[in-house]
């Protein structure tokens, strides 16, 4: 009997030791490694913006980003919604500039890695994106002619050192815009074509300066990255890199049964693409069909990659050239957001539909049908414990 007891004890010890160590299969280890921040490739050069790597352009862009003078009423800047101490977002369900918009402010860490911008990808470069809120009446509510005058009066010397001589603006109306109010549109249409082109050029350069600044906003290392690095080299995690059993369960679900990693992949936890996941619309907001309506907008944008304000050649325009232009799956398709830092920036989804990660995970577990189009996700039947574990894991991406 004593031999049997000792055999039993040995088996028990082996089983318990096995439980205490996180066991990851080789395939799981490979997936975890692919998510580590160290796997983020260096930013690709943006040949459509020849000022992208010019420090003086980034410095001017940073000034403009925080300058409330860059708005119609002088009260709103990019940083009103993209708050520097809040991961460059505003914690609101829908952004509030001059008015309330219909979309959640996106954080900016690593944004320059994206192929498409905004939740629906209605712009195809970071510099073209930066121009859009400047003229949106609900955001910065400015107009192109006024921005050109403002740049000349306030930053003329800095501008010219980077971009060359400013055009003669003496004949340019104080307020004129091809989008704007009736009066602004009339003033714009009355401008000679060459003059409008010159104003557009100054406007495009504003975007290029802001984009040069935004390229420097990078995601920070997290507890997950320290854990992933240790797992990859087979080292025992130390200090805060040690994951609790709940966090390990959450990670395993994330890359396994819960299928999160299908779209939230790579070191930024996003595939950069658009998906209908059945997120419900918000009552009271204008109709929002996501990617399907953005295709025409990016094609019509005079500042897109095919436009005359692109630097370099059209070989940089492959995303736009090979864009999917039609198809039922574009309906209510929204960009997969990065999950880095997400745990500390509720609310979630493109219009702040969910106020907590618990609600987000519950949505993906239940997978309700989409109000329009077809949701790509399927019910997961996650237990309470599994849902809590996923949330625990997501928090490791924000610590």
């Amino acid at each position: 009997m004593s031999r049997f007891s000792s055999l039993l004890a040995l088996v028990m010890v082996a089983v318990l030791a096995g439980c205490g160590r996180p066991e990851f299969s080789d395939a799981e280890k490979q997936t975890v490694a692919s998510l580590a921040l160290s796997k983020l490739p260096p930013l690709k050069p943006d040949t459509t913006n020849r000022f992208a790597e010019v420090p003086a352009a980034a410095a001017l862009g940073s000034t403009l980003f925080f300058d409330t003078g860059m708005s119609g009423g002088g009260t709103v800047s990019c940083s009103t919604c993209h708050k520097i101490d809040r991961q460059f977002q505003d914690d609101l369900p829908q952004a509030v500039g001059v008015g309330r918009t219909n979309r959640r402010t996106m954080p900016l860490a690593g944004v320059a890695h994206d192929p498409w911008f905004f939740w629906d990808g209605r712009r195809d470069s970071l510099w073209a994106q930066a121009l859009t809120p400047l003229e949106n009446p609900l955001e910065q509510a400015g107009n192109r002619a006024a921005f050109a005058h403002y740049i000349k009066a306030r930053f003329g010397e800095r501008y010219e050192r980077i971009f060359g001589p400013l055009p003669d603006l003496s004949g340019v109306p104080a307020n004129a815009n091809p989008l704007g109010t009736d009066a602004e549109r009339a003033a714009w249409n009355a401008m000679p074509e060459a003059q409008a082109e010159e104003v557009n050029r100054v406007f495009a350069n504003i975007g290029k300066a802001i984009a040069a600044f935004e390229r420097s906003i990078a995601p920070p290392q997290t507890r997950f990255d320290r854990f992933a690095t240790d797992l990859a080299v087979g080292a025992e995690p130390q200090g805060d890199a040690v994951f609790s059993p709940e966090e390990i369960l959450g990670l395993k679900l994330f890359i396994g049964k819960a299928n999160c990693v299908t779209c939230h992949n790579g070191p930024r936890f996003t595939d950069g693409s658009f998906h209908n996941t059945g997120v419900p619309p918000v009552a009271g907001l204008p109709p929002d069909r996501g990617r399907v309506d953005a295709v025409a907008q990016v094609e019509a944008d005079p500042f897109n990659c095919f436009g005359t304000f692109r630097d370099g050649d059209a070989s940089a325009c492959r995303e736009l050239r090979f864009m999917v232009k039609a198809g039922p799956e574009l309906i209510r398709g929204y960009k997969t957001p990065s999950l880095r830092g997400a745990a500390t920036r509720p609310p979630y989804m493109h219009a702040g539909q969910f106020s907590s990660l618990d609600e987000v995970v519950a949505h993906y577990s239940k997978a309700p049908a989409s109000v329009e189009g077809v949701s790509e996700i399927h019910p997961l039947q996650l237990s309470d414990r599994e849902r809590a574990a996923l949330v625990a894991f997501l928090k490791t991406l924000a610590e």
């Binding site: 049997f4 997936t31 299908t262 790579g266 693409s273």
Partner: protein, 148 residues
Amino acid sequence: MASLWRYLLGGFGLAALLAGVLAVVYLTAPHAPQPSSDVGRSRTTANKLFVATFEPEKGVIRQGELESWLLTLKTVEGAPVEGAAITISGGMPQHKHGLPTSPQATDYLGEGRYRIDGVKFTMSGWWQLHFAISAAAGSDTVVFNVVL
């Protein structure tokens, strides 16, 4: 000693029972569509008009990157197929969605080789690419499986 053997025998019995139950569960469980086992880079088209070879131009597949691939078309006798009109579609059968981009045949490189540009695989898993090919010999289709 006798009791030890009894325990071991009991253990084996339980293990065998568990294996049996698992086998029944596994064999009767509904199966999701599985990636085709044929991930070969060379295939004969559906009506056997052409032999098509599809491979990444740079030799490796990088997830999330916009890549160009090469489609090489030969007749079954091995002659290069020139002047083919090629359209591409596809998607992920298990996720019921199409391709994230619209790849196109952009260049003819000679010897039956066509550059298929704008290919992007945004997710890991099973992808299918369908080619509709029209040439002097007729029209045919071929499907390639790519598993990442």
